[in-house]
């Protein structure tokens, strides 16, 4: 059988198609990724103009969860405001509690005992693990992978059990008070935390095996949403997003608070600032947090969990209140009038899982702040969307939002 080969010259079909569309004057389509949408990051609205699949402009609309926290703070005593700080970044409530308490304690000039500082570092790092686990689980879910979400949620449930034993609530813990923490750690709790830390690396390894070298995941995230070093600094990025863009800024190392200078840990820095880098930085931060937790538990100091000499600020323990007159009066004054914080202003930032959560407190004396400004890391992280998103495809939006890992509770306050 003889075959005859004839060569046909069809030309590049793709080029012909592009040529054709260039001649067609395509209109831009306005797409609204509305406040209620499948990416599980909360109520953010993106008003976008699309040219086909390409995004040409993106305007985020916030405020759908604005609850008036700053105005409420001007009407509450310092301790009454602690539950509101829980609900700012509701994925790591303990870290918010600690940041707020330290900010107010700085105005009052209280020195905390070492045990209290160690407890605060311990719960901050556990909150960081919890927040990153959820962030990365949901990031996988946004990219289309259901299994990492389930695995990380199982680990988080173990953390929730630990938090519940310590504070009484699974999350929204309201654990710190001005001048200390609400209660001491229960017996045997440290052993359970150690047991959890010993088992967590295996779970993270499983999640990493599914996701980190996954061809589909890398294709979806590498090179997407690149933020350069200069842009990151100019737009006020902080936290893992800033470090993924290559800037070495970690408040735990640069301006250590609550005894962080005693612990030895590394800070992962990214190179390109794309979505993949942000994911890798967060996974590594979980491992470093476990390192810090182990060190805290190994050198856990004894002592009191509150500042004993802060007589007008921290209420004495219950057994003393119920048996001694002076402590009763002290408790009465603190509960009714609030902790008496002297006049002054302070700005304190803590390295939260989402970035640097700052509290700017202006006090004119008394138990109620005059002005409380909450500098939310997610608010500043989101401001780059207008600048960064145009030029990406529509299907990259979920991946970009997932990698920025923001929380609308603190963004809108």
């Amino acid at each position: 059988m003889s075959t005859k080969t004839v060569e046909l010259n069809i030309g590049d079909v793709g080029a012909k198609g592009a040529d054709a569309s260039a001649k067609v004057d395509s209109e831009k389509m306005a797409l609204n990724v509305g406040p209620s949408h499948p990416t599980t990051h909360g109520v953010l609205r993106l008003m976008m103009d699309l040219d086909g699949d390409l995004i040409t402009s993106c305007e985020p609309v916030l405020g759908y969860l604005h609850r008036g926290d700053e105005k409420i703070a001007e009407n509450m005593t310092y301790n009454q405001f602690v539950p509101y700080t829980d609900r700012l970044d509701y994925l790591s409530p303990l870290a918010n509690n600690v940041a707020y308490a330290i900010a107010v304690e700085k105005i009052a000039g209280i020195d905390l005992p070492e045990r209290c500082e160690a407890i605060r570092v311990l719960v901050c790092e556990m909150a960081r693990v919890s927040s990153h686990l959820l962030g990365m689980g949901v990031f996988g879910m946004d990219a289309g992978a259901w299994t990492p979400f389930m695995y990380t949620f199982t680990e988080r449930e173990k953390l929730y059990t630990l938090f519940e034993e310590l504070t009484g609530a699974r999350f929204t813990t309201s654990y710190t008070r001005i001048g200390g923490v609400a209660r001491d750690i229960p017996d045997g709790w440290l052993d359970r935390v150690t047991h959890f830390c010993d088992n967590l690396p295996k779970a993270i390894d499983e999640v990493e095996k599914l996701v980190t070298r996954n061809r589909i995941f890398i294709d979806r995230t590498e090179g997407i949403g690149e933020v350069s070093k200069e842009d990151a600094i100019a737009f006020g990025f902080t936290g893992p997003n800033l470090r993924a863009s290559g800037v070495d800024l970690d408040l735990r190392k640069d301006k250590p608070y609550s005894g962080y200078e005693k612990y030895d840990f590394d800070v992962p820095i990214g190179t390109r600032g794309d979505c993949y880098d942000r994911y890798l930085v967060r996974i590594e931060e979980v491992r470093q947090s476990l390192r810090i937790i182990k060190q805290v538990i190994a050198n856990f100091p004894d002592g009191l969990w509150y500042a004993e000499d802060a007589r007008k600020i921290f209420a004495p323990p219950k057994d003393k209140i119920l048996s001694s007159m002076e402590e009763l009066i002290q408790n009465f004054m603190i509960v009714t009038e609030g902790p008496q914080i002297p006049e002054g202003e302070v700005y304190f930032e803590a390295e939260n899982p989402k970035g640097a959560l700052g509290f700017y407190v202006v006090s004119k004396g008394g138990g109620v702040p005059y002005r409380l400004k909450i500098r939310a890391p997610s608010f500043c992280n989101l401001s780059i969307l207008e600048h960064m998103v145009p030029g990406h495809m529509l299907s990259d939006i979920t991946v970009i939002l997932g990698s920025l890992d923001f929380v609308m509770g603190e963004c809108d306050r």
Partner: protein, 174 residues
């Protein structure tokens, strides 16, 4: 055995069950409620935890959390409803097909919670009719599951032709 339940004894009845339409329809509806999670704030995290493996909501047939209102039965309002968001909640409620139910999860959705301020709507029942209120800040996943079971009971007691457009309310002989 009440008139609303289905009972089937194969030896007696053979291969055919005879029962009231309401019993069958409500039985089908209540065991496959597809929730539409209106996850606004912290309660959404407990909603996700209820859907995760420890407090498996899939045992009740509710793991199908469709974010599209057209495909869902029950809107779980989880989180604070602000006045700015109220319009969106109402529009999505209007887009849901009948029969539809609403669960107000948490203190903020029920009555505004601890946010008594200028921007927070004091309860989502100002704009949508609520069937079950769940208290808690946030309610534990077990509380949410309890609420869904109560919703299932409520569905079982309803007239299955309620809310159908153009139909009159048919009274059941009880």
């Amino acid at each position: 055995m009440t008139a609303n339940e289905i009972a089937y004894n194969g030896k007696v009845e053979g291969d055919v069950i005879v029962t009231k339409a309401d019993a069958v329809i409500n039985w089908i509806r209540k065991h496959s409620v597809w929730p539409m999670p209106m996850g606004l704030a912290c309660c959404a995290i407990e909603l996700m935890a209820a859907a995760a493996s420890r407090y498996d909501i899939s045992r009740f047939g509710m793991e199908v959390m469709r974010f599209s209102p057209r495909q869902s039965d029950c809107m779980i309002v989880a989180g604070t409803v602000t006045y700015k968001m109220a319009e969106v909640v109402r529009r999505i409620y209007d887009q849901m097909g009948d029969p539809k139910w609403v669960v107000a999860m948490g203190a903020c959705a029920s009555t505004g919670g601890m946010y008594r301020s200028y921007a927070v709507m004091q309860g989502v029942d100002t704009i949508v009719p609520v069937d079950v209120y769940v208290s808690g800040c946030p309610p534990r996943p077990e509380a949410l599951l309890d609420a869904m079971i109560k919703l299932q009971d409520k569905i079982g007691d309803e007239s299955s032709v309620k809310n159908l457009k153009g139909s009159k309310e048919i009274e059941l002989a009880s």
